[in-house]
Structures are given as structure tokens and as C-alpha cells.
Subunit: 454 residues, 2 copies
Amino acid sequence: MADDYSKVLLDESEMPTQWYNVIPDLPEPPPPPLHPGTHEPIGPDDLAPLFPMALIMQEVSTDSYIDIPGEVLDIYKLWRPTPLLRARRLEKALDTPAKIFLKYEGGSPAGSHKPNTAVPQAFYNAQEGVKRLTTETGAGQWGSALAFATAQYGLDCEVWQVRASYDQKPYRKTMMEIWGANVHPSPSDLTAAGRAVLAADPDSPGSLGIAISEAVEQAGPDPDTRYALGSVLNHVLLHQTIIGEEALLQLAKVEETPDVLVGCTGGGSNFGGLSFPFLREKLAGRMNPTIRCVEPASCPSLTRGEYRYDFGDTGQLTPLVKMHTLGHSFVPDPIHAGGLRYHGMAPLVSHIYELGLVEAESIHQTECFAAAIQFAKSEGIVPAPEPTHAIAAAIREALRCKESGEEKVILTALCGHGHLDLASYEQYLAGQLVDYDYPEEKISAAMAQVPVLG
Amino acid sequence: MADDYSKVLLDESEMPTQWYNVIPDLPEPPPPPLHPGTHEPIGPDDLAPLFPMALIMQEVSTDSYIDIPGEVLDIYKLWRPTPLLRARRLEKALDTPAKIFLKYEGGSPAGSHKPNTAVPQAFYNAQEGVKRLTTETGAGQWGSALAFATAQYGLDCEVWQVRASYDQKPYRKTMMEIWGANVHPSPSDLTAAGRAVLAADPDSPGSLGIAISEAVEQAGPDPDTRYALGSVLNHVLLHQTIIGEEALLQLAKVEETPDVLVGCTGGGSNFGGLSFPFLREKLAGRMNPTIRCVEPASCPSLTRGEYRYDFGDTGQLTPLVKMHTLGHSFVPDPIHAGGLRYHGMAPLVSHIYELGLVEAESIHQTECFAAAIQFAKSEGIVPAPEPTHAIAAAIREALRCKESGEEKVILTALCGHGHLDLASYEQYLAGQLVDYDYPEEKISAAMAQVPVLG
């Protein structure tokens, strides 16, 4: 390629045809999920009411690679392979000798990396005869992705959107409806869980925990209906590894290897998707990047949470999983990166962090938005609030290189655009965005509710 | 390439390095613009207070090709070359033997084709020492593009946004501010033109005509300030020809030639950009596509307007240009495709239509939104309201092919995404979108105001 490239593309024929499962390559496997009642490891049958067997088998797979079905590749090709951007204009603005690469996932129909897993989840459900998927959504990214994906395979899609978000961001709802999804504000009177909340508080703004309860409740008893989750679980991170596999091929094309890889972490699927293929290369001794998670200072599950068994949801309906957690009842301050406002962290990312294979840092949101504005002015793209954390971390690293003179290669993922998040930029530009202190008391209170296992 | 490709990409090294000027290839040149006072053809000096000389010389150029400056190519490469999509899933949904190709321009920072001209306009102004650009914007697409472009060359940017749009679509304003533009609602008290309107009606919702007057008034007397226009003029259409030049290369890669080319027309820059390189091929006898404009039924300048000298703006500040017009005082019904709500048509597109080289049809907006929903469900991308017209026209053609059994190759441009236009989809899905009758009386009244030349 020419030396002055701005992005590295792959042809469709070069797109990876397998997802990568990092588990067999780890020095030890992650601890198993436990049944919330018996505290015994759960088996595939325990998950069968919620997920199709193909996804459950991926969740527990010990194979290093899993073939991507042709019917999924066909849909991926609507927007994949995604470009690897070289942020030359940002490098110049920072006056850094570092090279900054960003894997851009915002060109998908839903505008983020989420369709990478929504599409195979919809596919496997359709293949097993499921007619309808239920899910929850906060800011709307995951609901949009699943609405798009279910439309491709003729499935119905029911989304419980957190009431506050449903009222404040009507356009995400509209996007989901364009693809044919049925969107309910949560709490709703369609479920026992929702009705119980409404009975206690008719004006409840809802929460992700309540919305999960409603979606799970609707999926469980109906044999034609299953539930879909957009992050945290092993099979979700597995599907996202196509991000990192593509990035590896793209960096090879320009003969670069990353010295530092940074990714924003909420549930962990964007970070896992980008980093796991590079972790494979690191474990095999073929490269040696520093791999770093970036999380919001107001929801610091890796840097401040404890590594313990906890519930994945506020309503305590899910299995117990060992992860870095702030406590399942922890409610983060209202930062704009809705996708990073999760009390826990993917068990697989938590395990790898515990093994010392990755680092973590936290950043406040005003630094993130300042970084995003600098990025947008240099490179054009307006990032979603979540990847502003990745960009802020990349800029920190690039400025360290400016000090040291090191010509490091920095890789990160720009996992979504911010076209439906412009209200957050409006607040930032008006000087109305605040940073929240470390929520020590809230975390202590929430951690006190985490079950103590025998 | 494999036979089942979903899109055709070009590498940056394959990006065209020249814009194409169709005028020398036409059987006769378009009539010249006239001075509004003398009715004599205007010269470059008449335009010098508004535009830099490089753009004025492009406006009147008789060269067939004009080199794209390296500093512009560098910025183009942030998102160009753009993909050529093959809408296989839509073809299947329509059960048509036709092949449907779409040149997708929504991946630009501003989300449309507009930066293709905003970037060179900002560049040439910066090169001639201009410090500030003024412009108007209706829905906000053009203002966003110019805000992005000026940020690349360190120019200030002042945008007068039609008051009704400023109030109803605050997110376009935020997007412009992210890139550093200063956005004013129009009418404003910053200009004599704005103050006059406000004196008569303090609650004026504004209009594109008023906003143009304000931007032009601010640019004229200040030697450091110039004005920028996002469509209609020859140099704007020239810059957009990179769309068609890329599409030609991409179709050649898959060994296809278009039988039908359709493009939506408002001011004419998207249509001209896509079609002129193909018109060159047609005039040279190398291919023979039917080339068709698609316009909204409520603003039918080509299909119902007269080919006459008229003003480009409501305020009668611009030169007189010969074009298809509904009358400079015509105010279209409030359809959602704001970018197509223009009383006239690019003089160059009008001239080519008059020469019989292109056809035109008009479509109502509810058919367009129905087509857009079908497209989004099949192909993922949610289109802006403007290109829904192009998609509806492509679907009409594909369904005719289904009847006739013809395996036609249909090419159109998907000139922007609809992420900032979801309110229009919300109305459509709620059944609140109406079609407007042909505005015969309004057009008659407006045409009565068009000057009669001696």
C-alpha cells in the first residue's frame, strides 16, 4: 500500500470465516456460572428456556474456532469487513510520533458493533424454529441491532426499553420500529415484573435490571420465544472477535503490530471482540502488545470492583457469575455512555484481568468528550459516548509518546457513531456536563447485597 | 470478484484524481447567467465578492477535467472511495430479475454527499486567504458538511439555519457546533435582512430565501469572508462528479453497465454528480443508459416547472439563471425531504433535460417512505428522506422488470443516511404523513412573479 494511506480495507473475500474462542488458549479456564439456588455449576439444560442450543454450546465450547454460518456471512457483508482507520490528522494535531489506528464499527446498519452478535443470535434462533426474540435495551444500541437482525430472518422482536430512555430518546425507538420491532417502555403492564414495579411506583423511570426481568419473563414459558443478550456472555464476545481478526489482517497489510491496544469496557463485548485475537498472538509469543481496558470513572467495575460471584441483573433472575462487580444493585451516576453503565463485567474479561493479561484504567466523561471533539475535528467522525473513552485513552497514550519520543503503534476500536447521541454533545458544549466523584458509599452499599457463597 | 459480492470497493489508490466537467461534451453550452439589473451576461468579477477566483474559474471552465488538489484528496480519503452496494436482498424481496446498485454516500462525516463539494470550497477559500465562510442551511445537511470542511482548513464558519429547523432539529445544530461552526437561527438580528423580517414578524419561522440573504449579506462587504453554496452551481456539480467516476470504475470491476440510472433532484448536485460521467459515456457511444431525475410530486420543478430565467433565491439577490423553475417565491409544501424543497433546478441539469438527454418523473412522499422501509428491512441502511425518492424510483423500475422479465442493471445513489431524520419515519409509521396535491395555484402565483426578459 501507499505510505500515506488513511484507512486499510479488506475485500469481502478476505473476511474471516471463523470466530475465535480464547478460552482454550488461556492458562486456566474461567470459573463456571452457578445456579442461583443450589450454587452448583449450571449445565446447558438450565439455559435452554432462554437460549437456543447452538448458542448454549458456543457458551461452553472448548473449540478454538467456530465456523461462521454462510447465512450470517451474507448479512455481515452488508457492512463488513469494516475499515481500519489511520488517524493521521489526529496524530498531527497531537504532534505525536505514535501511530493511531481505529477499527471503525459505526458503519453497520444499527451504527455500532452490536449487529456482529445480533445477526448470529437471530440466525441460530430462527434455525431452531424460534419465532420471537425478546430483549431489553437502555440507550437503544442493542435493541436497534437485534431489530435489524431479526428482520433478516423473519423473526418477531419485542424490546423492553428503559422508560427514561424511551421518553428521552424517541428516535432509537423509531429506528427499531423501522426494522419491524415492537418496542415497549419498561416497566410495562405486559409482565408480572413490570406490573409489580408500576403498582409500587406508577411513574417509575425504569432500569436495565427491570427491563431484563420483563424480557426474560416473556421468553421463559413460551416455546416459540427466546431471549437475547447483547454483551457479557461468552458467546457474545465470541461473535465480536471478527473485529479483532479483521484488524489483525489489516495491520499485517501495512506491516504494523500494535504496541498498545485500548478498548472501552461496559459489558465487555467490544473490548473482547477487538482484543482476544491479539491476546492469542501475545500468548503465542508472536507479538507483545500492552492490552488495556478503559472504563468510566463513575462505573469502575474492573479498577474498583471486587472479583466475586454476583448476579448479572438487578432482579437476581440470572445465574451467578464470577466477575468484577460493583454489586448487582449498584445504579451508576447518569453519565452519557449508557452502554458502559453496567454494574459488572464479562466473566471472561474479568478472568483475563485477574490473570494479569490485561490492564485497566478509568476516565471521567468530560475528558472523554473533549477527546471526542478533538477527534471529530481531525478525523470527521462523531463518536458515540462509549468509544469516547477509548479515544481519550488513545490520546493519553499518544501524548505519553510525545513526551518520550516513542513511535508506538496504538490500536483501538471506534465501536459506534454518535448520530443518535448528539444531546450529550449539546450538554458538553453548553458546559453542563459534570464529572461524578468516585461513588464509594453507593458501591459499599451495593456490595453488601452480593451473596456470600459457602 | 466472487459472483456473490454485496458491495464493490475501491482502494484509495484507485480514487479518481480529477473532477469531470460535462459542459464541453454537450451539443451546446448552457445559457449564461445574467446580471439582475442589466440583464447582460455576468463576468467573473461580478461574483468575486462572494466566491474565491478558483471556484469562479471552475464555474465557467471549458476544460473537460480539473485536477483535484492533493490537500482535498487527503480529506476525501477520510471516507472515500465510497462503496457501491449491490442490493441483492432487496432484489430478492422484490422478486425481480433486475440488478440494483446503489452508490452509498452516507459514510461521510456529515452523513451525505455534501462534503464532496464543501471540502474543495473550503480549501480554495483558505488558499486565497479567506478567513471565514458564511452559508445557509435548511435541514442541516449542507451546514454540517461545511462545518466539517472548514474545520479541516482552520476557517471560521457561520451558518444561518432556518428558524423552524433550528428549533425542531437541534441535533443538526449540535453536529455543526462539534466541528466548530457558529450557528444562528434565521431570521437573526445580525443582518439588515434578518432585522427587516423580524421587524415585520418577530415570530417568523424563516425560510431558505431569508437565510441565503443573511449569509450573502454577511459575506459581501468583508474582504476576509466569502459565501458558500451547497448545490445548483456548476462548480458544485463538478465536485460531485467524483461519485459517478467512482461508480464507473466499480461497475467495470464487476463487468456491468447500467441500463437505467436514477437520481433524486433537489438543487441537482447529487444527480449531476452521479450521472454526468455516465452521460459522457453515453454521448461517446460507449454505453446507452436511460438517465432519469426523480423529484418530489409537491416540488416538481423539472416535470411541471417552466424553463426560464429566474432568481436563485427568494430575496432576488442572486444573478438570473435559466433553469426549470416553479417561481422564486414558491414555497413547497412541508414534505420531509428538505433537501428537495427548492423552487428551481441546477441550470446545468435543466439544460441537459431541455436537450432531451435525461428524463424526469415525480413521486409522492408516502410511496418514498414505504420504499425506504422495505429497503431498510432488506439492506439495513435507513435512508435520508431525499434518497427515498431514488429508492422508490429504483423499485418502480425493478418491478417493471419483474413484469417484463428484463434483467436490467439499475444504478442509483443513496446520497445520505437518515439518522438525523428519524422524526419523519416516526410520523410515517404513525400514519401521519400526507401526500400533497399538485400545487397548481401556488405555482401559477409564483410564476407570475418571475421576471419577463426583453
